[in-house]
Amino acid sequence: MTVTDTTIVTCPACGATAASGDLFCEACGANLPDTGPAPVAPAAGAEEGTAPTAPPPASSDGPACRNCGASADKAVEGYCGDCGMKMPAQRDHMESSHPGVGVVSDRGIRHHRNEDSFAASVADGRVVVLVCDGVSTTVSPDQASQAACDAALAVIVSPDGPADPEARMVAAHSAALAAVLSVPGEPEGEYGWPSCTFLAGDVHDGVADLATLGDCRSMWLPAEGDPEMLTVDDSWAEEKISSGALTMEEAYEHPKAHMITRWLGKDADPEWKPRYRRFVVPGPGRLVLCSDGLWNYALTAAAVGAAAGEGDALTVAQRLTSFANEAGGSDNITVAVIEIDAAPPVTEAPSTESPGVSPEEEEGQQS
């Protein structure tokens, strides 16, 4: 049950009043300046390590209403001015691609908006990817997940952050939590404080430093050999499976299976820290980071591996997203694929060799 608070701005073209967050003036149709609390759009081409920039300016020649065909300039507040259907949102489908790295985030079929977010940085042979899933029973989960991704990414890539990889992940989690706490919105009805899950992957020098809190997963799909699950969920199902109370099949049949036991948000226990692990990459293969929108339909690393197929990182990410949508698309789907070509280094000393990404690529997540 959402709460919408709106204040009023003046149209710069005709002087009529409009609600802040309106994309267009209701009176003359002119674009209105962005005064947020607008419908959240992802930061396009944000600089590495910076907070998201403002959404791109609205354009009246955007796509027509997918329901009734009314033109985009009739839209008000992001909804069709005739039939009320939500106009296509930028967040509904987002992709990011770099050599060796591909990320797709998709609304899926059954959810009305994409509450997953990601952020990625690719520079100097190092790949950092964040995947956060907004908790849909909370207020503004899409804003929470995006804020968490952006804040954590900034900490992980910062040269001033902790040198110790685990301490760096803990600091990234703290920054993400602080960002979630600053998302506007208060609990309303049965909707709690803005909340999300957390998954960070930092791939460099033949290792993957991973930190997770919640139920986003990471797995290793080797070029040869068996796929391997790398992280453990904080979920009702995982607790039942690990305690031996239920088998995996039984656990995931249960209606509570997807209830998460830890999250980032105002009512999260301050003692909750992310699970950290350093995975030494054993050889060529792919690292996959994903939200439960994918793994709902592929409960094991082997199942994800079987669905992944061949192709470059973005192609594989797109294929896994389509796989989840074709299977029902019951939740938002976010998939990040990182290709590892290089042979494993003997030590953890900084390698001069690029692990398959070009050093000049340096970008945040994009749509």
């Binding site: 049950m1 507040e77 039939c83 009320g84 939500k86 029973t137 919640g214």
Partner: protein, 437 residues
Amino acid sequence: MTSTVFSASVFQNEFLPEGTTEVNAVVTVTAAGGDGGVAVSDVEKIVLLIVDVSTSMEQPRTKINAARKAAAAACEAMPDGVLFGIVAGGDHAAQAYPPGGETSLARADDQTRAEAAAVARSLPTGGGTEISKWLDLAREIVEPYEGAIRLAYLLTDGENNDNDRNEFPRAIARATGVFQCDARGVGESWRVSELRQITSALLGEVEVISDPSAMEADFLDFLDQAIGKTVADVKLRMWAPKGSTVRFVRQVAPTIDDLTPKAQPVDALTNTYPTGAWSGDESRDYHVCVDVPVGNVGDEKLAARVSLLVGADAVSQGLVRAVWTDDTALSTRINAQVAHYTGQAELAQVIQEGLQARKDGDIDTATIKLGRAVQLAAESGNDGTLRVLRGVVDVEDEASGTIRVKRDAGKLAEMELDTRSTRTVQVKRATPAPEGN
């Protein structure tokens, strides 16, 4: 600069089960003082006292004496600068103050307050009750002051004369949109339904004054509230999508008032509804219910856009959404505000039905209806309504609504329950934790 800032919040469960079309939401509009809002310093304010001086007011004389005393007290309390006047109502209506024949108003100062109070203390009585004449004169007096906050207080003790039956609703229609009117009935010879016709159209409240000695305090209360009004002519504007049907737009707090029949079309998709004048510090809740063309699972539509208009300017807005889902955990949630006000509307309705059944001598139906009313009032914490219900029924068990209709309840108790039936209480709020994603 003094100004009023309006804000709107929407409470709803936007999730609809597959194949359904009904969207419910409660929109809370709050006015508060602040910078940058609607300027209120230069709004003209008019207070008109309409006092019944028919012969029945002398039976007993305590009624007319109390009315004179109360009107005089109200005149003496009139703040500087307010435009005011007194209409004396009988078979005809006369402007008792300011004197002189022409329709006019006086601006309150020491001199006019004293003059008006003297006139009030010696209001002459005589004749019957033709309220249409009172309303028409009141309208003529305040009509020239467009843009002003125009409030009237009508006090009567009796039923309207039969020969006014046709003109009465017409006079109300003529006054609609010109001024707002509160109505008070003193004693038990007047009809609640009659005065409610006036206050429903003229955006006021109807109340019982059971004891003439309470008249003065009530008059001064009204004046207090009238003086607090700072923004004139506020309207609710609602857009709903093509192909939709607005089932109802209902004010649900502080009182229940169905705005649906008051809709004024703006264009094919938009209507406005009058809400009268607002004070700089108040909150009103509206329950809107719209049927929208069905969507597919995963679709999100705007079901309504509710804005508050001051003059031609939208000063705040709330969005009511519809999101179709096959997740029953989401779609079966009951929004606390919507449920609460659905209950308060039912409470008002079962009281009316129960009172009607009681009048018709159908005690079985009255027992069921008023029992349900007791249950709803107790459940929602509407203590005021529960109190007046107890004047008409003996309560055995509030929770189950087990009651006995009092055979000997007085007419006054019934009228108090009738007038009180539209009063609501606001919902208490809760804040739960997240469960899943």
